[in-house]
Protein backbone atom coordinates (compact mmCIF):
# COMPACT_ATOMS: atom_id res chain seq x y z
CA UNK A 1 0.00 0.00 0.00
CA UNK A 2 1.49 3.36 -0.96
CA UNK A 3 1.95 6.25 1.48
CA UNK A 4 -0.70 8.29 -0.27
CA UNK A 5 -3.35 5.54 0.08
CA UNK A 6 -2.55 5.16 3.77
CA UNK A 7 -3.15 8.81 4.41
CA UNK A 8 -6.44 8.48 2.50
CA UNK A 9 -7.76 5.70 4.71
CA UNK A 10 -6.49 7.50 7.80
CA UNK A 11 -8.40 10.60 6.71
CA UNK A 12 -11.54 8.47 6.32
CA UNK A 13 -11.04 7.01 9.79
CA UNK A 14 -10.51 10.46 11.30
CA UNK A 15 -13.66 11.72 9.64
CA UNK A 16 -15.58 8.69 10.92
CA UNK A 17 -14.30 9.21 14.47
CA UNK A 18 -15.54 12.81 14.41
CA UNK A 19 -19.14 11.57 14.13
CA UNK A 20 -20.29 11.11 17.76
CA UNK A 21 -23.24 8.82 16.90
CA UNK A 22 -21.02 6.51 14.87
CA UNK A 23 -18.43 6.39 17.67
CA UNK A 24 -21.23 5.58 20.12
CA UNK A 25 -22.23 2.75 17.76
CA UNK A 26 -18.69 1.36 17.67
CA UNK A 27 -18.50 1.52 21.48
CA UNK A 28 -21.76 -0.39 21.97
CA UNK A 29 -20.78 -2.98 19.36
CA UNK A 30 -17.40 -3.47 21.07
CA UNK A 31 -19.16 -4.03 24.41
CA UNK A 32 -21.44 -6.62 22.72
CA UNK A 33 -18.42 -8.26 21.11
CA UNK A 34 -16.58 -8.49 24.46
CA UNK A 35 -19.75 -9.91 26.02
CA UNK A 36 -20.00 -12.52 23.26
CA UNK A 37 -16.33 -13.58 23.33
CA UNK A 38 -15.95 -13.63 27.11
CA UNK A 39 -19.48 -14.83 27.86
CA UNK A 40 -18.41 -17.55 30.31
CA UNK A 41 -16.33 -15.39 32.66
CA UNK A 42 -18.85 -12.50 32.45
CA UNK A 43 -22.00 -14.57 33.05
CA UNK A 44 -22.75 -15.11 36.74
CA UNK A 45 -24.57 -18.43 36.19
CA UNK A 46 -24.85 -21.20 33.62
CA UNK A 47 -27.48 -19.87 31.15
CA UNK A 48 -29.06 -23.33 30.85
CA UNK A 49 -29.01 -24.24 34.55
CA UNK A 50 -32.57 -24.93 35.76
CA UNK A 51 -33.17 -23.95 39.37
CA UNK A 52 -36.82 -24.43 40.41
CA UNK A 53 -36.21 -22.88 43.84
CA UNK A 54 -35.32 -19.52 42.24
CA UNK A 55 -38.16 -19.31 39.70
CA UNK A 56 -39.49 -15.86 38.68
CA UNK A 57 -37.20 -13.98 41.07
CA UNK A 58 -37.11 -10.20 40.64
CA UNK A 59 -33.79 -8.51 39.78
CA UNK A 60 -31.55 -8.34 42.85
CA UNK A 61 -28.05 -9.00 44.18
CA UNK A 62 -28.10 -12.71 43.42
CA UNK A 63 -29.71 -12.48 39.98
CA UNK A 64 -28.99 -9.03 38.50
CA UNK A 65 -31.70 -9.25 35.83
CA UNK A 66 -33.95 -11.71 37.73
CA UNK A 67 -34.85 -15.28 36.74
CA UNK A 68 -37.36 -16.95 34.41
CA UNK A 69 -40.01 -19.59 35.08
CA UNK A 70 -37.38 -22.33 35.36
CA UNK A 71 -35.17 -20.29 37.64
CA UNK A 72 -32.61 -19.63 34.90
CA UNK A 73 -30.53 -16.46 35.36
CA UNK A 74 -31.66 -13.79 32.87
CA UNK A 75 -28.40 -11.80 33.03
CA UNK A 76 -26.39 -14.85 31.98
CA UNK A 77 -28.90 -15.66 29.25
CA UNK A 78 -28.68 -12.10 27.91
CA UNK A 79 -24.86 -12.27 27.94
CA UNK A 80 -24.87 -15.59 26.05
CA UNK A 81 -27.60 -14.20 23.79
CA UNK A 82 -25.13 -11.65 22.43
CA UNK A 83 -22.99 -14.59 21.28
CA UNK A 84 -25.87 -16.12 19.31
CA UNK A 85 -26.87 -12.79 17.76
CA UNK A 86 -23.34 -11.92 16.73
CA UNK A 87 -22.59 -15.41 15.36
CA UNK A 88 -25.76 -15.27 13.26
CA UNK A 89 -25.05 -11.65 12.24
CA UNK A 90 -21.44 -12.19 11.17
CA UNK A 91 -22.15 -15.48 9.38
CA UNK A 92 -25.06 -14.06 7.41
CA UNK A 93 -23.13 -10.92 6.48
CA UNK A 94 -20.19 -13.05 5.27
CA UNK A 95 -22.46 -15.33 3.23
CA UNK A 96 -24.51 -12.50 1.73
CA UNK A 97 -21.37 -10.51 0.94
CA UNK A 98 -19.84 -13.48 -0.85
CA UNK A 99 -22.86 -14.64 -2.85
CA UNK A 100 -24.37 -11.17 -3.23
CA UNK A 101 -21.10 -9.74 -4.55
CA UNK A 102 -20.65 -12.63 -6.97
CA UNK A 103 -24.21 -12.33 -8.32
CA UNK A 104 -24.00 -8.53 -8.43
CA UNK A 105 -20.68 -8.60 -10.30
CA UNK A 106 -21.82 -11.13 -12.88
CA UNK A 107 -25.20 -9.46 -13.32
CA UNK A 108 -23.78 -5.94 -13.62
CA UNK A 109 -21.03 -6.95 -16.03
CA UNK A 110 -22.72 -9.40 -18.41
CA UNK A 111 -25.83 -7.90 -19.95
CA UNK A 112 -27.34 -11.19 -21.11
CA UNK A 113 -27.12 -12.71 -17.60
CA UNK A 114 -28.43 -9.54 -15.98
CA UNK A 115 -32.06 -10.06 -17.01
CA UNK A 116 -32.19 -13.64 -15.73
CA UNK A 117 -30.41 -12.99 -12.44
CA UNK A 118 -32.35 -9.81 -11.70
CA UNK A 119 -35.74 -11.46 -12.39
CA UNK A 120 -34.87 -14.28 -9.98
CA UNK A 121 -33.76 -11.78 -7.34
CA UNK A 122 -36.93 -9.70 -7.95
CA UNK A 123 -38.97 -12.82 -7.32
CA UNK A 124 -37.16 -13.45 -4.04
CA UNK A 125 -37.72 -9.83 -3.07
CA UNK A 126 -41.41 -10.03 -3.94
CA UNK A 127 -42.03 -11.57 -0.53
CA UNK A 128 -42.03 -9.58 2.66
CA UNK A 129 -38.72 -10.81 4.17
CA UNK A 130 -40.16 -12.29 7.34
CA UNK A 131 -42.78 -14.31 5.44
CA UNK A 132 -40.15 -15.92 3.21
CA UNK A 133 -38.02 -16.68 6.27
CA UNK A 134 -40.94 -18.32 8.08
CA UNK A 135 -41.71 -20.46 5.01
CA UNK A 136 -38.09 -21.63 4.63
CA UNK A 137 -37.72 -22.28 8.37
CA UNK A 138 -40.97 -24.27 8.31
CA UNK A 139 -39.36 -26.68 5.88
CA UNK A 140 -35.82 -26.72 7.29
CA UNK A 141 -36.69 -26.90 11.01
CA UNK A 142 -35.33 -24.95 13.99
CA UNK A 143 -31.53 -24.78 14.36
CA UNK A 144 -28.68 -22.26 14.35
CA UNK A 145 -27.39 -23.40 10.93
CA UNK A 146 -30.86 -23.27 9.40
CA UNK A 147 -31.45 -19.73 10.72
CA UNK A 148 -28.16 -18.65 9.13
CA UNK A 149 -28.99 -20.34 5.80
CA UNK A 150 -32.50 -18.85 5.73
CA UNK A 151 -31.38 -15.31 6.52
CA UNK A 152 -28.58 -15.58 3.95
CA UNK A 153 -31.10 -16.62 1.25
CA UNK A 154 -33.39 -13.70 2.11
CA UNK A 155 -30.69 -11.00 2.33
CA UNK A 156 -28.43 -12.04 -0.58
CA UNK A 157 -30.64 -10.31 -3.20
CA UNK A 158 -30.38 -7.04 -1.26
CA UNK A 159 -26.58 -7.19 -1.38
CA UNK A 160 -26.55 -8.31 -5.03
CA UNK A 161 -28.67 -5.33 -6.07
CA UNK A 162 -26.37 -2.83 -4.42
CA UNK A 163 -23.25 -4.43 -5.92
CA UNK A 164 -24.87 -4.59 -9.35
CA UNK A 165 -25.62 -0.87 -9.15
CA UNK A 166 -22.00 -0.14 -8.26
CA UNK A 167 -20.68 -2.39 -11.05
CA UNK A 168 -22.85 -0.61 -13.64
CA UNK A 169 -21.12 2.65 -12.67
CA UNK A 170 -17.62 1.16 -12.36
CA UNK A 171 -17.57 -0.68 -15.69
CA UNK A 172 -17.87 2.61 -17.56
CA UNK A 173 -14.85 4.10 -15.76
CA UNK A 174 -11.61 4.91 -17.55
CA UNK A 175 -9.53 2.44 -15.51
CA UNK A 176 -11.61 -0.44 -16.86
CA UNK A 177 -11.05 0.80 -20.39
CA UNK A 178 -7.33 1.13 -19.65
CA UNK A 179 -7.15 -2.38 -18.18
CA UNK A 180 -8.90 -3.75 -21.26
CA UNK A 181 -6.52 -1.80 -23.54
CA UNK A 182 -3.44 -3.37 -21.94
CA UNK A 183 -4.99 -6.78 -22.52
CA UNK A 184 -6.54 -7.68 -19.14
CA UNK A 185 -9.12 -10.44 -19.51
CA UNK A 186 -12.81 -9.92 -18.66
CA UNK A 187 -12.40 -12.26 -15.69
CA UNK A 188 -9.48 -10.24 -14.35
CA UNK A 189 -11.36 -6.96 -14.72
CA UNK A 190 -14.53 -8.44 -13.23
CA UNK A 191 -13.04 -10.24 -10.24
CA UNK A 192 -10.00 -8.10 -9.44
CA UNK A 193 -10.26 -4.52 -10.71
CA UNK A 194 -13.98 -3.80 -10.28
CA UNK A 195 -14.54 -5.41 -6.82
CA UNK A 196 -11.77 -3.26 -5.32
CA UNK A 197 -13.79 -0.21 -6.21
CA UNK A 198 -17.09 -1.62 -4.94
CA UNK A 199 -15.90 -2.21 -1.39
CA UNK A 200 -17.55 0.92 0.08
CA UNK A 201 -21.15 0.00 -0.88
CA UNK A 202 -20.53 -3.62 0.21
CA UNK A 203 -19.35 -2.50 3.66
CA UNK A 204 -22.26 -0.07 4.08
CA UNK A 205 -24.87 -2.59 2.96
CA UNK A 206 -23.21 -5.32 5.07
CA UNK A 207 -23.57 -3.20 8.21
CA UNK A 208 -27.23 -2.51 7.44
CA UNK A 209 -27.87 -6.21 6.76
CA UNK A 210 -26.19 -7.05 10.09
CA UNK A 211 -28.78 -4.89 11.88
CA UNK A 212 -31.70 -6.43 9.95
CA UNK A 213 -30.37 -9.92 10.68
CA UNK A 214 -30.28 -9.35 14.44
CA UNK A 215 -33.88 -8.12 14.35
CA UNK A 216 -34.98 -10.96 12.07
CA UNK A 217 -33.28 -13.69 14.09
CA UNK A 218 -34.88 -12.46 17.29
CA UNK A 219 -38.29 -12.14 15.59
CA UNK A 220 -38.08 -15.71 14.22
CA UNK A 221 -37.00 -17.05 17.61
CA UNK A 222 -39.75 -15.07 19.34
CA UNK A 223 -42.32 -16.62 16.99
CA UNK A 224 -40.96 -20.08 17.78
CA UNK A 225 -39.63 -20.81 14.29
CA UNK A 226 -35.99 -19.70 14.77
CA UNK A 227 -33.61 -20.96 17.42
CA UNK A 228 -34.44 -24.16 19.34
CA UNK A 229 -36.36 -23.37 22.58
CA UNK A 230 -33.52 -24.12 25.01
CA UNK A 231 -31.01 -21.77 23.29
CA UNK A 232 -30.26 -18.55 25.17
CA UNK A 233 -31.12 -16.33 22.18
CA UNK A 234 -32.61 -12.89 22.90
CA UNK A 235 -35.75 -13.72 20.91
CA UNK A 236 -36.23 -17.03 22.74
CA UNK A 237 -35.82 -15.29 26.12
CA UNK A 238 -38.50 -12.69 25.26
CA UNK A 239 -40.78 -15.40 23.92
CA UNK A 240 -40.45 -17.38 27.17
CA UNK A 241 -41.29 -14.27 29.19
CA UNK A 242 -44.38 -13.33 27.18
CA UNK A 243 -46.80 -15.34 29.36
CA UNK A 244 -45.28 -13.91 32.56
CA UNK A 245 -45.46 -10.28 31.46
CA UNK A 246 -47.67 -9.37 34.42
CA UNK A 247 -45.74 -11.31 37.10
CA UNK A 248 -42.20 -11.07 35.78
CA UNK A 249 -41.78 -8.27 33.21
CA UNK A 250 -37.98 -8.34 33.66
CA UNK A 251 -37.72 -11.54 31.61
CA UNK A 252 -38.70 -9.67 28.45
CA UNK A 253 -37.31 -6.27 29.37
CA UNK A 254 -33.53 -6.76 29.32
CA UNK A 255 -33.32 -8.86 26.16
CA UNK A 256 -35.37 -6.24 24.31
CA UNK A 257 -33.00 -3.50 25.47
CA UNK A 258 -30.03 -5.54 24.25
CA UNK A 259 -31.54 -6.09 20.80
CA UNK A 260 -32.45 -2.40 20.48
CA UNK A 261 -28.99 -1.22 21.56
CA UNK A 262 -27.26 -3.61 19.19
CA UNK A 263 -29.42 -2.59 16.22
CA UNK A 264 -29.13 1.11 17.10
CA UNK A 265 -25.33 0.73 17.25
CA UNK A 266 -25.15 -1.02 13.87
CA UNK A 267 -27.46 1.53 12.23
CA UNK A 268 -25.35 4.41 13.59
CA UNK A 269 -22.16 2.75 12.30
CA UNK A 270 -23.84 2.18 8.92
CA UNK A 271 -24.93 5.82 8.71
CA UNK A 272 -21.48 7.00 9.75
CA UNK A 273 -19.78 4.79 7.17
CA UNK A 274 -22.14 6.02 4.48
CA UNK A 275 -21.27 9.60 5.32
CA UNK A 276 -17.51 9.04 5.00
CA UNK A 277 -17.36 6.39 2.28
CA UNK A 278 -20.02 7.73 -0.04
CA UNK A 279 -19.56 11.49 -0.25
CA UNK A 280 -21.93 11.69 -3.21
CA UNK A 281 -24.79 11.13 -0.81
CA UNK A 282 -25.21 14.54 0.70
CA UNK A 283 -27.47 13.27 3.42
CA UNK A 284 -29.25 15.62 5.73
CA UNK A 285 -29.60 13.72 8.93
Amino acid sequence: MSKKEKSGSRRTLEKFMKNPTAVFGVFILLVMLIMAVFASPIATHDPLEINPGDRLMAPGAQHWFGTDRMGRDIFSRVVYGSRISLIVGFSVVLLTSFFGTFLGLVSGYFKHLDEIIMRILDGLMAFPGLILMIMIMAVLGRSLTNVIITLAIVYTPRMARVVRGAVLVQKEQTYVEAARAIGASSMRILFIHIPRNCIAPIIIQGTMIFAYVILAESALSFLGVGMPPETPSWGVVISSGKVFLRRAPWICFFSGISISLCVLALNSIGDGLRDVLDPRLNRKG
Binding site: R119, I120, D122, G123, L124, A126, F127, P128, G129, L130, I131, L132, I134, M135, I136, M137, A138, V139, L140, G141, A211, L215, S218, A219, F222, L223, G224, V225, G235, I238, K242, L245, R246, P249, C252, F253, S255, G256, I259, S260, L261, V263, L264, N267, S268, R283, K284, G285
Partner: protein, 314 residues
Protein backbone atom coordinates in the same frame (compact mmCIF):
# COMPACT_ATOMS: atom_id res chain seq x y z
CA UNK B 1 -50.58 5.15 -19.81
CA UNK B 2 -52.21 2.07 -21.39
CA UNK B 3 -48.84 1.08 -22.78
CA UNK B 4 -47.32 1.41 -19.34
CA UNK B 5 -50.07 -0.66 -17.75
CA UNK B 6 -49.66 -3.48 -20.27
CA UNK B 7 -45.87 -3.50 -19.78
CA UNK B 8 -46.24 -3.35 -16.03
CA UNK B 9 -48.78 -6.16 -16.11
CA UNK B 10 -46.39 -8.45 -17.99
CA UNK B 11 -43.51 -7.75 -15.64
CA UNK B 12 -45.89 -8.46 -12.75
CA UNK B 13 -46.81 -11.80 -14.30
CA UNK B 14 -43.10 -12.61 -14.63
CA UNK B 15 -42.45 -11.76 -10.99
CA UNK B 16 -45.40 -13.93 -9.94
CA UNK B 17 -44.00 -16.82 -11.99
CA UNK B 18 -40.67 -16.49 -10.18
CA UNK B 19 -42.58 -16.21 -6.89
CA UNK B 20 -44.42 -19.46 -7.52
CA UNK B 21 -41.21 -21.20 -8.60
CA UNK B 22 -39.59 -20.00 -5.36
CA UNK B 23 -42.49 -21.31 -3.27
CA UNK B 24 -42.36 -24.60 -5.15
CA UNK B 25 -38.60 -24.96 -4.68
CA UNK B 26 -38.79 -24.15 -0.97
CA UNK B 27 -41.75 -26.41 -0.25
CA UNK B 28 -40.84 -29.32 -2.51
CA UNK B 29 -37.11 -29.36 -3.13
CA UNK B 30 -35.38 -28.20 0.06
CA UNK B 31 -33.78 -31.02 2.08
CA UNK B 32 -36.67 -31.11 4.61
CA UNK B 33 -39.21 -33.83 3.71
CA UNK B 34 -42.77 -32.45 4.06
CA UNK B 35 -44.31 -35.92 4.24
CA UNK B 36 -41.94 -36.99 7.03
CA UNK B 37 -42.38 -33.71 8.90
CA UNK B 38 -46.18 -33.89 8.57
CA UNK B 39 -46.33 -37.41 9.98
CA UNK B 40 -43.95 -36.69 12.86
CA UNK B 41 -40.96 -38.66 14.18
CA UNK B 42 -42.88 -41.87 14.97
CA UNK B 43 -43.94 -42.53 11.35
CA UNK B 44 -42.57 -45.59 9.60
CA UNK B 45 -40.84 -45.39 6.21
CA UNK B 46 -43.89 -47.07 4.61
CA UNK B 47 -46.24 -44.40 6.03
CA UNK B 48 -43.98 -41.66 4.68
CA UNK B 49 -43.78 -43.33 1.26
CA UNK B 50 -47.57 -43.74 1.15
CA UNK B 51 -48.18 -40.07 2.03
CA UNK B 52 -45.54 -39.02 -0.51
CA UNK B 53 -47.40 -40.97 -3.20
CA UNK B 54 -50.71 -39.44 -2.09
CA UNK B 55 -49.24 -35.92 -2.24
CA UNK B 56 -47.62 -36.67 -5.61
CA UNK B 57 -44.14 -36.09 -4.15
CA UNK B 58 -42.76 -39.29 -5.72
CA UNK B 59 -43.22 -38.05 -9.30
CA UNK B 60 -40.40 -36.37 -11.28
CA UNK B 61 -39.82 -32.76 -10.19
CA UNK B 62 -40.82 -31.23 -13.52
CA UNK B 63 -44.15 -33.12 -13.55
CA UNK B 64 -44.75 -32.07 -9.95
CA UNK B 65 -44.10 -28.44 -10.87
CA UNK B 66 -46.38 -28.48 -13.92
CA UNK B 67 -49.20 -30.11 -11.94
CA UNK B 68 -48.68 -27.71 -9.05
CA UNK B 69 -48.67 -24.60 -11.28
CA UNK B 70 -51.77 -25.85 -13.08
CA UNK B 71 -53.61 -26.15 -9.78
CA UNK B 72 -52.45 -22.71 -8.60
CA UNK B 73 -53.57 -21.03 -11.84
CA UNK B 74 -57.00 -22.64 -11.47
CA UNK B 75 -57.11 -21.23 -7.93
CA UNK B 76 -57.03 -24.71 -6.43
CA UNK B 77 -54.69 -24.39 -3.45
CA UNK B 78 -55.73 -27.71 -1.96
CA UNK B 79 -57.35 -28.42 1.38
CA UNK B 80 -56.16 -27.55 4.84
CA UNK B 81 -54.95 -30.57 6.80
CA UNK B 82 -55.81 -28.97 10.12
CA UNK B 83 -59.11 -27.13 9.54
CA UNK B 84 -61.21 -30.24 8.82
CA UNK B 85 -60.21 -30.39 5.18
CA UNK B 86 -61.67 -26.98 4.28
CA UNK B 87 -60.26 -25.39 1.14
CA UNK B 88 -57.23 -23.17 1.69
CA UNK B 89 -58.77 -19.99 0.15
CA UNK B 90 -61.75 -20.40 2.51
CA UNK B 91 -59.53 -20.73 5.54
CA UNK B 92 -57.50 -17.67 4.50
CA UNK B 93 -60.67 -15.67 3.83
CA UNK B 94 -61.88 -16.33 7.39
CA UNK B 95 -58.71 -14.77 8.76
CA UNK B 96 -58.55 -11.85 6.35
CA UNK B 97 -60.65 -9.23 8.17
CA UNK B 98 -58.37 -8.78 11.18
CA UNK B 99 -55.20 -8.57 9.08
CA UNK B 100 -56.63 -6.12 6.55
CA UNK B 101 -57.98 -3.83 9.30
CA UNK B 102 -54.75 -4.01 11.30
CA UNK B 103 -52.52 -3.33 8.28
CA UNK B 104 -54.65 -0.47 6.93
CA UNK B 105 -54.99 1.17 10.33
CA UNK B 106 -51.23 0.96 10.87
CA UNK B 107 -50.48 2.26 7.39
CA UNK B 108 -52.88 5.19 7.87
CA UNK B 109 -51.37 5.98 11.24
CA UNK B 110 -47.80 5.70 9.92
CA UNK B 111 -48.52 7.89 6.88
CA UNK B 112 -50.31 10.62 8.82
CA UNK B 113 -47.91 10.83 11.76
CA UNK B 114 -44.86 10.24 9.55
CA UNK B 115 -45.62 13.02 7.07
CA UNK B 116 -46.73 15.56 9.68
CA UNK B 117 -43.72 15.05 11.98
CA UNK B 118 -41.34 14.90 9.00
CA UNK B 119 -42.64 18.22 7.66
CA UNK B 120 -42.47 19.82 11.12
CA UNK B 121 -38.90 18.58 11.65
CA UNK B 122 -37.81 19.92 8.26
CA UNK B 123 -39.44 23.30 8.77
CA UNK B 124 -37.77 23.64 12.20
CA UNK B 125 -34.43 22.28 10.94
CA UNK B 126 -31.75 21.89 13.64
CA UNK B 127 -34.12 22.99 16.43
CA UNK B 128 -34.59 20.94 19.60
CA UNK B 129 -37.70 19.39 18.03
CA UNK B 130 -35.70 18.36 14.97
CA UNK B 131 -32.91 16.82 17.04
CA UNK B 132 -35.22 14.88 19.35
CA UNK B 133 -37.17 13.79 16.26
CA UNK B 134 -34.00 12.28 14.77
CA UNK B 135 -33.18 10.50 18.03
CA UNK B 136 -36.72 9.18 18.35
CA UNK B 137 -36.85 7.88 14.78
CA UNK B 138 -33.46 6.13 15.14
CA UNK B 139 -34.77 4.39 18.22
CA UNK B 140 -38.08 3.47 16.59
CA UNK B 141 -36.24 1.68 13.77
CA UNK B 142 -34.01 -0.22 16.21
CA UNK B 143 -36.65 -1.45 18.67
CA UNK B 144 -37.98 -4.90 17.69
CA UNK B 145 -41.73 -4.58 17.22
CA UNK B 146 -42.57 -7.71 19.21
CA UNK B 147 -40.80 -6.20 22.23
CA UNK B 148 -42.45 -2.83 21.74
CA UNK B 149 -45.82 -4.61 21.63
CA UNK B 150 -45.14 -6.41 24.91
CA UNK B 151 -44.01 -3.16 26.57
CA UNK B 152 -47.17 -1.40 25.35
CA UNK B 153 -49.26 -4.22 26.82
CA UNK B 154 -47.32 -3.89 30.08
CA UNK B 155 -47.86 -0.11 30.15
CA UNK B 156 -51.36 0.39 28.75
CA UNK B 157 -53.13 -2.88 29.48
CA UNK B 158 -51.53 -4.12 32.70
CA UNK B 159 -50.18 -1.13 34.64
CA UNK B 160 -52.70 1.45 33.37
CA UNK B 161 -55.56 -0.70 32.05
CA UNK B 162 -56.91 1.46 29.21
CA UNK B 163 -56.86 -1.05 26.34
CA UNK B 164 -57.43 -4.81 26.19
CA UNK B 165 -54.16 -6.79 26.51
CA UNK B 166 -54.96 -9.23 23.70
CA UNK B 167 -57.73 -10.66 21.56
CA UNK B 168 -59.96 -9.33 18.80
CA UNK B 169 -63.56 -8.31 18.38
CA UNK B 170 -64.88 -8.71 14.81
CA UNK B 171 -66.17 -5.63 12.99
CA UNK B 172 -69.76 -6.92 12.96
CA UNK B 173 -69.83 -6.67 16.78
CA UNK B 174 -69.34 -2.93 16.66
CA UNK B 175 -66.68 -0.63 15.29
CA UNK B 176 -65.60 0.83 18.66
CA UNK B 177 -64.97 -2.44 20.38
CA UNK B 178 -63.11 -3.63 17.27
CA UNK B 179 -60.96 -0.47 17.27
CA UNK B 180 -60.21 -0.71 21.00
CA UNK B 181 -58.65 -4.12 20.37
CA UNK B 182 -56.62 -2.76 17.46
CA UNK B 183 -55.11 0.39 19.05
CA UNK B 184 -52.07 -1.20 20.73
CA UNK B 185 -51.39 -3.65 17.85
CA UNK B 186 -51.54 -0.81 15.31
CA UNK B 187 -49.12 1.35 17.28
CA UNK B 188 -46.79 -1.66 17.58
CA UNK B 189 -46.94 -2.36 13.89
CA UNK B 190 -46.77 1.28 12.77
CA UNK B 191 -43.77 2.42 14.87
CA UNK B 192 -41.06 1.35 12.45
CA UNK B 193 -42.97 2.65 9.42
CA UNK B 194 -43.65 6.02 11.11
CA UNK B 195 -39.90 6.45 11.56
CA UNK B 196 -39.06 5.53 7.96
CA UNK B 197 -41.77 7.72 6.43
CA UNK B 198 -40.95 10.64 8.73
CA UNK B 199 -37.22 10.48 7.95
CA UNK B 200 -37.84 10.33 4.22
CA UNK B 201 -40.33 13.22 4.40
CA UNK B 202 -37.85 15.30 6.38
CA UNK B 203 -34.96 14.62 3.98
CA UNK B 204 -37.05 15.36 0.86
CA UNK B 205 -38.57 18.49 2.38
CA UNK B 206 -35.11 19.81 3.28
CA UNK B 207 -34.06 19.30 -0.35
CA UNK B 208 -37.15 20.99 -1.77
CA UNK B 209 -37.10 23.90 0.69
CA UNK B 210 -33.75 25.00 -0.77
CA UNK B 211 -35.27 25.58 -4.20
CA UNK B 212 -35.56 28.99 -5.82
CA UNK B 213 -39.33 28.84 -6.18
CA UNK B 214 -39.74 28.43 -2.43
CA UNK B 215 -37.65 31.54 -1.85
CA UNK B 216 -39.72 33.37 -4.46
CA UNK B 217 -42.96 32.30 -2.82
CA UNK B 218 -41.69 33.44 0.57
CA UNK B 219 -40.50 36.75 -0.93
CA UNK B 220 -43.93 37.33 -2.43
CA UNK B 221 -45.30 37.07 1.09
CA UNK B 222 -47.08 33.73 0.79
CA UNK B 223 -47.97 32.39 4.22
CA UNK B 224 -45.43 29.90 5.70
CA UNK B 225 -48.04 27.13 6.07
CA UNK B 226 -49.06 27.45 2.41
CA UNK B 227 -45.42 27.45 1.26
CA UNK B 228 -44.74 24.31 3.23
CA UNK B 229 -47.87 22.27 2.69
CA UNK B 230 -48.86 23.41 -0.79
CA UNK B 231 -45.64 24.37 -2.56
CA UNK B 232 -43.00 22.20 -0.95
CA UNK B 233 -44.80 19.06 0.20
CA UNK B 234 -46.31 18.33 -3.20
CA UNK B 235 -42.85 18.18 -4.74
CA UNK B 236 -41.29 16.32 -1.85
CA UNK B 237 -43.91 13.60 -1.69
CA UNK B 238 -42.86 11.25 -4.51
CA UNK B 239 -39.98 9.45 -2.75
CA UNK B 240 -42.21 9.40 0.33
CA UNK B 241 -44.86 7.47 -1.63
CA UNK B 242 -42.17 4.88 -2.48
CA UNK B 243 -41.34 4.49 1.20
CA UNK B 244 -45.04 4.21 2.08
CA UNK B 245 -45.36 1.43 -0.52
CA UNK B 246 -42.29 -0.33 0.86
CA UNK B 247 -43.61 0.03 4.39
CA UNK B 248 -46.74 -1.85 3.33
CA UNK B 249 -44.63 -4.96 2.70
CA UNK B 250 -42.92 -4.61 6.06
CA UNK B 251 -46.33 -4.17 7.68
CA UNK B 252 -47.58 -7.41 6.13
CA UNK B 253 -44.50 -9.19 7.48
CA UNK B 254 -44.78 -7.40 10.81
CA UNK B 255 -48.46 -8.33 11.07
CA UNK B 256 -47.37 -11.94 11.65
CA UNK B 257 -45.45 -10.90 14.73
CA UNK B 258 -48.03 -8.40 15.98
CA UNK B 259 -50.91 -10.86 15.60
CA UNK B 260 -48.93 -13.42 17.57
CA UNK B 261 -48.31 -11.01 20.47
CA UNK B 262 -51.91 -9.83 20.67
CA UNK B 263 -53.57 -13.15 19.79
CA UNK B 264 -55.36 -11.62 16.81
CA UNK B 265 -56.95 -14.28 14.59
CA UNK B 266 -55.45 -12.91 11.33
CA UNK B 267 -53.58 -14.36 8.37
CA UNK B 268 -50.22 -13.90 10.10
CA UNK B 269 -51.19 -15.97 13.11
CA UNK B 270 -52.71 -18.51 10.75
CA UNK B 271 -49.30 -18.82 9.07
CA UNK B 272 -47.48 -19.41 12.36
CA UNK B 273 -50.15 -21.85 13.54
CA UNK B 274 -49.86 -23.73 10.25
CA UNK B 275 -46.09 -23.98 10.70
CA UNK B 276 -46.67 -25.61 14.10
CA UNK B 277 -49.44 -27.92 12.86
CA UNK B 278 -47.41 -28.69 9.70
CA UNK B 279 -50.34 -27.62 7.56
CA UNK B 280 -48.29 -27.29 4.35
CA UNK B 281 -51.12 -26.36 1.95
CA UNK B 282 -52.09 -23.42 4.19
CA UNK B 283 -48.46 -22.23 4.53
CA UNK B 284 -48.12 -22.35 0.74
CA UNK B 285 -51.45 -20.54 0.25
CA UNK B 286 -50.79 -17.76 2.76
CA UNK B 287 -47.33 -17.04 1.37
CA UNK B 288 -48.68 -16.98 -2.19
CA UNK B 289 -51.55 -14.62 -1.20
CA UNK B 290 -49.18 -12.25 0.57
CA UNK B 291 -46.76 -12.20 -2.38
CA UNK B 292 -49.64 -11.46 -4.79
CA UNK B 293 -50.93 -8.69 -2.51
CA UNK B 294 -47.46 -7.17 -2.28
CA UNK B 295 -47.00 -7.25 -6.07
CA UNK B 296 -50.40 -5.57 -6.57
CA UNK B 297 -49.48 -2.88 -4.04
CA UNK B 298 -46.30 -2.19 -6.00
CA UNK B 299 -48.39 -1.73 -9.13
CA UNK B 300 -50.70 0.66 -7.28
CA UNK B 301 -47.73 2.70 -6.05
CA UNK B 302 -46.52 3.06 -9.65
CA UNK B 303 -49.97 4.24 -10.76
CA UNK B 304 -50.16 6.70 -7.87
CA UNK B 305 -46.87 8.24 -9.07
CA UNK B 306 -48.42 9.21 -12.36
CA UNK B 307 -51.34 10.82 -10.54
CA UNK B 308 -49.30 12.93 -8.13
CA UNK B 309 -46.59 13.82 -10.62
CA UNK B 310 -48.01 14.56 -14.08
CA UNK B 311 -44.45 15.11 -15.37
CA UNK B 312 -43.84 11.37 -15.20
CA UNK B 313 -44.38 9.61 -18.47
CA UNK B 314 -44.08 5.90 -19.04
Amino acid sequence: MLNFLVKRFFSMALVLLVVSITIFIVMHLLPGDPAAIMLGPEATNEDVAALKAEMGLDKPVLIQFIEWTGRIVRGDLGNSLFFQNRSVPNVIFDHLEATVLLTLLSLGMATLIGIITGVLAASTHESIFDRSFMLFTSMAVAIPNFWLGLMLVLGFAIMIPIFPAAGYSPLKEGIWSCLSYLVLPSITLAAGAVALIARMTRACMLDVLQNEYIRTAKAKGVRQSIVIFKHALRNAIIPVVTVIGMSFANLMGGAVVTESIFNIPGVGRLLIKSVFTRDYPVIEGVVLYIAIAWTLINLMVDIIYTIIDPRLEY
